[in-house]
Symmetry: C2
Subunit: 436 residues, 2 copies
């Protein structure tokens, strides 16, 4: 990878052009806006051809990509990055396989653009419907995982958007190598080069510009830690689709099937600890607490999960530590679980209303009316009856892909797939109608 190649996916060809960050980002923005306009003329076949060509170039460039990644890893070690960050940064053949397969999967997904919903005739004689169209220009800001570069590029492209990708500085060389594969794929399929631009500077000012150009960027999707996302949301003048906390609950009702309850409560906590849809607080109806808590505690003990309970929980489970107020709001992302005994659904709903981050909450019950009530009243992006919170995921929901999980209320809530990267305009078909 020469410096020249590094920048080929962006709209500038000389490293010196990057020195003036504001002018550089302005050029990227303008090129993206033009590409977004051009993308409205690009059909599904061309988009899929570009995705498949990118996969072929990635396959052919394995050595270069791994080489670039090795340089990033070396620099990372030199700068003292921790093991978890180095692991997220590292590519190997298996991860490249997954990235190549991912491109093919996105190519195989149905194209959401152009779909018309609800076309109907009106008394005036016009026909009205809503057509799904790209959002326009999407800015994605992410951290060290280089596979996000391809995921984000492929999802934005398939949904007809132009995108500007700004990855973490730790993955600079890897992203430049991937950008080269993307650029070649776009070129071969006859798509505008600026449909996918990878920001070729690691200067933090570039992020500030990206989130402050509403004339060029229609939406920002930050992916990464909470502090990054909070900062971007606070400072952006461009709308942001964001994911904040996942403080998820499972409530076990008195009528719950004990075996289902046990399986769900254990799976929701232990299947993976670091994910946003992992249960962080378990609520147990007082009527079944004495019967269930010891069985639950035994299962959690096998997984080495630390329990922090309310007073009533601690009376039943001597091994539980007393939970503090902070525990009810904690997103542990670790083998730690808060447990609270509650007096029926009313008190469970009140707890969830107060402490849930409105990501994903589940009830385990065999009571029809309670299931309906929980479904209607819990105000979270996913509300689940009798299944693990871990299902709250774009792939499990059948979206085919996921660019993130939105904890916002407007535009899109929950897992965001291709549809979340589009919007709908009204289309009207007439035969000369005028308004009387």
């Amino acid at each position: 990878m020469t410096a020249n190649v590094t920048h080929s996916a962006s709209d500038t060809d000389r490293a010196t052009d990057i020195a003036d960050i504001e002018a550089y980002m302005e050029r990227l923005g303008l090129a993206a806006r033009e590409a977004a306009t051009a993308m409205r003329r690009i059909d599904t076949a061309a988009k899929d051809a570009a995705l498949n060509a990118m996969a072929l170039h990635l396959e052919a460039s394995r050595a270069e990509v791994l080489d670039a990644n090795a340089r990033d890893l070396e620099a990372g070690r030199r700068h003292g990055l921790d093991a978890a960050l180095l692991d997220r940064l590292a590519l190997d053949d298996a991860r490249l396989d997954a990235m190549i397969e991912g491109l093919g999967q996105v190519a195989a997904l149905p194209d959401p653009v152009g779909e018309v919903d609800g076309l109907r005739s009106r008394p005036s004689g016009i026909q009205v419907g809503q057509m799904r169209v790209p959002l326009g220009v999407i800015g994605i800001i992410y951290e060290s995982r280089p596979n996000v570069t391809l995921e984000a590029a492929s999802l934005c492209l398939k949904s007809g958007n132009a995108c500007i990708l700004r990855g973490g500085s730790e993955a600079r060389e890897s992203n430049a190598a991937l950008a080269e594969c993307i650029a070649r794929g776009l070129e071969e399929a006859g798509l505008p080069r600026a449909a996918v631009q990878v920001v070729a500077t690691t200067d933090r000012e570039a992020v500030g510009r990206l989130i402050g150009m509403p004339e060029y960027v229609d939406v920002i999707i930050p992916r990464g830690g909470k502090s990054l996302i909070e900062r971007i949301s606070r400072e952006a003048s461009v709308p942001v689709i964001k994911h904040l906390d996942g403080v998820c609950h499972v409530y076990i009702d008195a009528t719950a099937d004990a075996d289902k309850a046990l399986a769900i409560a254990v799976n929701a906590k232990t299947q993976r600890y670091g994910t946003c849809n992992t249960m962080e607080t378990l609520l147990v109806d007082a009527a079944v607490a004495d019967a269930l808590l010891p069985r639950l505690a035994a299962a959690y003990a096998e997984h080495g999960v630390e329990l922090r309970g309310c007073e009533r929980t601690c009376r039943t489970l001597s091994q539980a530590l007393p939970a503090s107020e902070a525990d009810w709001a904690a997103e542990y992302l670790a083998p730690v679980l808060a447990i609270r005994v509650v007096d029926g659904v009313e008190s469970a709903l009140a707890h969830i209303e107060r402490y849930s981050s409105r990501h994903t909450d589940a009830i385990v019950t065999e009571h029809y009316g309670l299931a309906r009530r929980f479904m209607a009243e819990v105000d979270s992006s996913s509300v689940i009856v009798n299944a693990s919170t871990r299902f709250a995921d774009g792939f499990e929901y059948g979206l085919g892909a996921e660019i993130g999980i939105s904890t916002d209320r407007l535009h899109v809530r929950g897992p965001v797939g291709l549809e979340g990267l589009t919007t709908r305009k009204y289309v009207v078909f007439g035969d000369g109608q005028i308004r009387g």
Copy 2:
């Protein structure tokens, strides 16, 4: 209306409580948030009962409302409000009839809340769908028209939201009288009083607080002049659904039916001048310009429409004034029309891409492929073939009601009805499924 009654629809009962604007708005916000939670338990029948009760109270309070309005008008005249503003502020029996009828119409609309789309089974055994739910708390900021108070209240209520309404200071007494009818309707139907709160102070700081409380307010919808909306959008930390310009185009293609083209071009300009979906620029294909322009000019002359044309237009129409660059971007809202002769669809699309405010643009054509292309490539909230731009309206589209027309891209584009005031959460139904 005593001062006491004025405040009864908000969450405070003593005028002195309003002196500290920050604390007052905080109380309104908290009460709205609690009401939004309570609204999730309110069924359709109760919401409709409240709307119908409001209509009855408005009918019974005609004298009080007109009396309050007379005081506003008197104060307005004293403060030198212009005639147009006084007209918007004025209520009479016919306008009250329309408001009462409007409440009944909203009550009769289908309830969007609880509708589940796309429920499907997944290989894991879970069933997944998306349920329509209220946005939460909606803040509406508007100007002098008192009927907006009832429109906004009824649409927010029917869609299950709590709302905080902040009308113009000119309509203070009228809005207080209407707030009283709203409060009584809510009370009789057993709905939370804070489901609709009318801000009882005209202090401008109240607006600043309302748009800066994301913890209490989920979305702001400003209704009014462009400068108000731009200021709110710039300063709000709460998401805004907004309407900016309506610089709408009609493009008459060479294959257009001349009679349809004439009817549409005249209707789109002259049916009403002051509306956002009125055509402001007419584009005519050069191939038919000589034949059509004189007929168009004659028709516009009958309506007293001033024409401002490009060079080619002015060569054909001696009565046209030369258009300046500013004319192509102008939202006249007046009997003035910019006309440009273009070389086919490519040049029409380029003009629209550059100058359209992306509100509503139309083509008149009998060419199938061009109609498809215009539909796909014009990036506006409404794209119309062979009908007047004046159809871009919630009632004409069959939404049953309209709280505004969004020129944003995210969440909702075009006319915003009840659906635009809702969002969708994922609902998952299982029988004990866990993730493997």
